[in-house]
Amino acid sequence: MEQHVNPIIDAVLGYIAGFIQYLAGLLGPYLPEAHWAAYLAFALYVTAIILGGLLAILARNLVRAMMGLVLTFLGVAGMYLLLASPFLAFMQLLIYVGAICVLVFFAIMLTHNSSEGEESKLPPLSALGYGLLSLIAPLAVAGPLIILHGSKLKSKVPVDTPTGDLGKGLLTEYVLPFELISIVLLVAMAGAVFLAFRGFAPLKGDKE
């Protein structure tokens, strides 16, 4: 059976493969050794993070911004999988995608902010300028630091930690933070219920 259907497609595929090989040869000494599938997965997750992040901060419709947030959370969950911590990836899905996004959705819907709310207008030009500045500043300050000094750290390949170790750590070594976080959660829930049920009506003499 004839495999090579179209010489043009063959030529294009060959060119692309050659280009990838050329890039790999060029960057090879600087890149960590990993299976190509790891690079593919990393590229996929980074793409999800970038697209989701851009959608989350640029979308004029807040529901779309929340969907961008979900995409970013999924990308970060994939990163946790790449770092050999599947328990954290599961928790990311459960807590962030399952709980926090629902809270954000409640906030959007309770303030009538979905598509024709206050967010649908563009922010003033000065705010856009400051936003661009604050996007560039962390990248420009910490990016070179990470690239220059991160390479000097002795890096090892992540290995899987048994989930039982995490549970033992929670009950022996890190029992104080564990109890503290439960108190924080309790106080936050009580405060939220108190604020939401008591309510604050508009005061007399306020201009509406």
Binding site: I57, S85, E119, S134, L139, I181
Partner: protein, 101 residues
């Protein structure tokens, strides 16, 4: 460049997105979304740093679990605050909330 560098750059990207969103968003809800982005970047960088160096693995994962718990508590409280502000001011624009009373 090690694998750690890539993961740290990804979390730096999350921080930058969150900061930019926090400044450009006009409403409290949009700012809540941006803060969640930044918290996610913090968790990712903690796990990456602990998993790919000699530091304790379970310490990094538990720290990120605590960050997630704090994020959940923060989101709950912010939702209640947004409700109060909405009732009190009628809108959740950050530029409109100017009285403490």
């Amino acid at each position: 460049m090690t694998a750690l560098t890539f993961f740290l750059l990804a979390s730096l990207l999350l921080l930058a997105f969150g900061l930019a969103g926090l400044i450009t968003r006009r409403t409290l809800v949009g700012m809540l979304i941006s803060v969640e982005l930044m918290l996610n970047g913090a968790g990712l960088s903690i796990v990456a740093a602990c998993k790919s160096t000699e530091a304790s693995d379970s310490l990094g994962q538990l720290a990120t679990l605590f960050v997630m718990g704090l994020a959940a508590a923060e989101a709950t409280l912010v939702l209640a605050m947004i409700l109060v502000v909405q009732r009190r001011f009628g809108k959740v624009l950050s530029s409109e909330i100017t009285t403490l009373r």
